[in-house]
């Protein structure tokens, strides 16, 4: 049995000690960061007060999910006389709408089928129905035709309809210009190939809801169902290209839809969900810090300060990342992240206590702290990396609520690793700079020191014997 205690003690003097001066600098900087973070989290400034820009308290810029914030709902009805497989085609349309809203960043939108021929869409964080239609376009009919603007339709003029369009998206061509890319399904690809053979060099006109939109010239026969539309109108304007894509996609639904009604709606959790959760969160954090201080004293104070720093950084990052949409699931992610951030500290502190307790001879607090941090790294990293991998899978495979959870949790974990291994460590060393002699300040306790050196010597003997 080769358990060596000697090795750990040998690193006694290798760690550069922090001076009181440096420690004060650390406290001041963290103090300023936390104070500023807190102030800017609550205060909003108007142009007049600050002079140049409007400033909105950063947590308020986090976009909220439908369950946290109101939005708009709209009910669409199938606008078709063709009732074959209507129900299953409506299911397809429902999925297309969900996908589309998701792609637009409305991860918390819900789409329900109402009866057999209606679809109900609820979208969060949108202030009025107009915005919703800008988002999903007006579900419509899309046709690729020979006829140009102002010409009357003929039966042979129709080549491809929106039903055959798989997807459309904004892409970039070799000249670095934005282009609108189209992808047809198999049937559509055949039809499109015919159209481009027939109209090579001529215009293939795009009609939406019976209105002419554009007539791009066919440059070559396209037989694989993949085409791009270039135009000087959107070569360098992403928004313009994206608007065209929205219009095209709206025409690609399996069923043509017409709007029946739309209204604003409030949050599903009720108006008070966020504010009451924030109050509860504040109380919880207070209790956690209190518990840590009782258990670990000055180490607990360090982790309390680190926890405040963590929360401010976390909220700030959440507000800066545009993909974050806070939902109920997202709040769970935040809660668990805070739990795990505290956990990283607790792992380190219990390790420091262990190191100090089993330390033999003249174990110093500094040594226990150094080796405590060192030995905790593998546990913290492995634990968090496993959870991060889980987040990655959730983000790739999950539905909107799960994605929201995975994202907030992943962000929380990355910040918590940094906080535990860098910020807490800095703080602990800073406290040590003021007192590295009194173990009681850190609630450390050494078996051997308190129960006599005999015991300690005996343990060491036995251990070395076994090597």
């Amino acid at each position: 049995m080769s358990r060596t205690f000697s090795k750990e003690n040998s690193s006694n003097s290798t760690k550069p000690k922090m001076t009181k001066g440096k420690a004060i600098v650390v406290f001041v900087i963290l103090g300023i960061l936390i104070t500023m973070g807190t102030v800017f989290a609550f205060v909003s400034l108007d142009k007049g007060q600050l002079g140049v820009y409007d400033y909105k308290a950063y947590p308020k810029t986090i976009s909220l999910g439908l369950d946290m914030k109101g939005g708009v709902y709209a009910v669409f009805e199938a606008n078709t006389t063709d009732t074959t497989n209507l129900s299953s085609r409506m299911d397809g349309t429902k999925d297309q709408l969900s996908t589309m809203l998701y792609d637009k960043g409305y991860t918390e939108a819900t789409v329900n089928k109402v009866g057999d021929n209606r679809i109900r869409v609820e979208v969060p964080d949108v202030s009025d129905p107009e915005t919703l239609f800008n988002l999903i376009g007006t579900p419509s009919s899309l046709e690729f035709r020979t006829e140009g603007k102002g010409e009357t339709f003929t039966d042979d003029g129709l080549w491809v309809t929106g039903k055959d369009l798989d997807t459309a998206y904004v892409s970039v061509n070799e000249d670095n210009d934005y282009v609108v890319a189209l992808q047809f399904d198999k049937e559509g690809a055949d039809k499109f190939a015919k159209a481009t053979t027939e109209l090579n060099g001529k215009a293939l006109n795009i009609w939406i809801n019976g209105e002419w939109v554009m007539g791009p010239t066919v440059n070559s026969v396209i037989s694989d169902g993949r085409a791009i539309i270039t135009s000087s109108e959107w070569a360098s304007d992403y928004t313009a290209a994206s608007n065209i894509v929205t219009q095209l996609l709206a025409g690609a639904f399996d069923v043509e839809l017409k709007l029946v009604e739309s209204r604003e709606i409030s949050a599903t959790l009720g108006e008070n969900a966020l504010s009451s959760s924030l109050i509860i969160g504040g109380i919880a954090i207070g209790l956690i810090i209190l518990l840590l201080i009782v258990l670990y004293r000055l180490l607990g104070v360090s982790s309390g300060i680190a926890l405040l720093y963590y929360i401010i950084t976390y909220v700030f990052v959440l507000s800066v990342f545009p993909w974050v949409q806070l939902t109920l699931a997202g709040i769970a992610g935040v809660l668990i992240s805070i739990g795990m951030a505290v956990d990283a500290n607790v792992i380190i502190f219990s390790r420091i206590k262990d190191e100090y307790r089993i330390g033999t001879g003249e174990i110093s607090i500094q040594t226990a702290v150094t080796s405590g941090f060192k030995k905790s790294i593998s546990a913290i990293m492995d634990g968090n990396i496993t959870t991060l991998l889980g987040c990655l899978v959730m983000y790739l495979l999950g539905t909107s609520a799960i994605k929201s959870f995975a994202l907030t949790l992943a962000i929380g974990i990355v910040i918590s690793i940094f906080t535990a291994l860098v910020v807490t460590r800095l703080l602990v060393s800073s406290f040590l700079a003021f007192n590295r002699e009194n173990p009681k300040l850190y609630n450390l306790y050494n078996k051997n020191k308190e129960e006599g050196a005999d015991n300690a010597a005996k343990t060491v003997e036995e251990v070395t014997e076994n090597e």
Binding site: R3, G115, L269, A329, D343, I358, A379, T386, A401
Partner: protein, 351 residues
Amino acid sequence: MNKFSIRKLDLSSYNVHFLSKYRIWFAVPIVVILIAVIMFSIFSVVNKDVQEGMNLGIDFTGGTVMTVTVGNALDEDGAYDSYSKNLREIVEKAGYNVSYIQRSGSGSESGVMIKYQNKDADLEASNQAMKDKITEVYKDIPADDISLESISASSAKDLLQKALISLVVIFAVMLIYIAIRFEFWSGIAALIGLIHDVLMMIAFTIIFHIEVNTTYVAAVITIVAYSINNTIIVFDRIRETTKLAPKVGKINLDAYVEEAVNDTFTRSAVSTITTMIPVFLLGCFGVLSLKQFAWPIMFGLIAGTYSSLILAPTVYYLIRNAVMNAKLKKGQQPQKQSDASDVLSQRKRKA
């Protein structure tokens, strides 16, 4: 010595020999599952529907969305609260389970939107009955301003399916990672712990008949993410202690595993308590939907702690020991075995 000696809490000072009682550790979750199965049957029989065994919410079953348009009057002080409260009472008195209440529209279109589960066979009749009940109380609301529509289950089933797939992939990825960083058997043991957590959460949800909506899926995944972290802390200790063990021959694995668990016990207890604080407060004082969300997480935290500290290490020990014995039997020269208690006493560095 300090008067308030917190260190008495420090269980790492003790050495609890829990591995030998593995039958009890396996029996506990089995008993919970049995109770859940019994409760499930009772709920199914009482409600004469297998689906009733679990309290599935509107997201899974679909239901009715009712919009009562009140108009400008809703903007008056306290009007919304009183309307929504009364309407909710009317719906609940009629025997339906209200899932969501929201405000809809603005100005003259202002109204209260209520989503509730409706399993009546004749929807038209039940919708008409609901209209009558409301116009009875609110005589100034014309029946035309009350709209009732049946909505399908939202993407809940889809969500559940996707969540299950992601759960399986998450398990696989974690197994691979743990197998690389630790050993294959740790991965298997951790996996069994995770499956236990998910099963326990479902069992508790059935036993307490808690309504399950889309948020439940997020709660389950939350627990998986949290529990694996806890398990790894324990396995990290086992890895650290066994690293120092002799490479060949029979080692006293039980002593290593028990020591690792005892060493990490305080940390796990403190961590779980700090995580439980906000969840518990949300469960007690949060808004209704948050309560429904917090309690499954509470159950999960308890199950997760149990699996991390007791179940996963026990499973690891049993598998690993069996593998080791099989190897020894295969003809490797058994090393001279030292007495277990002897080794333990030598390694005893505390208490």
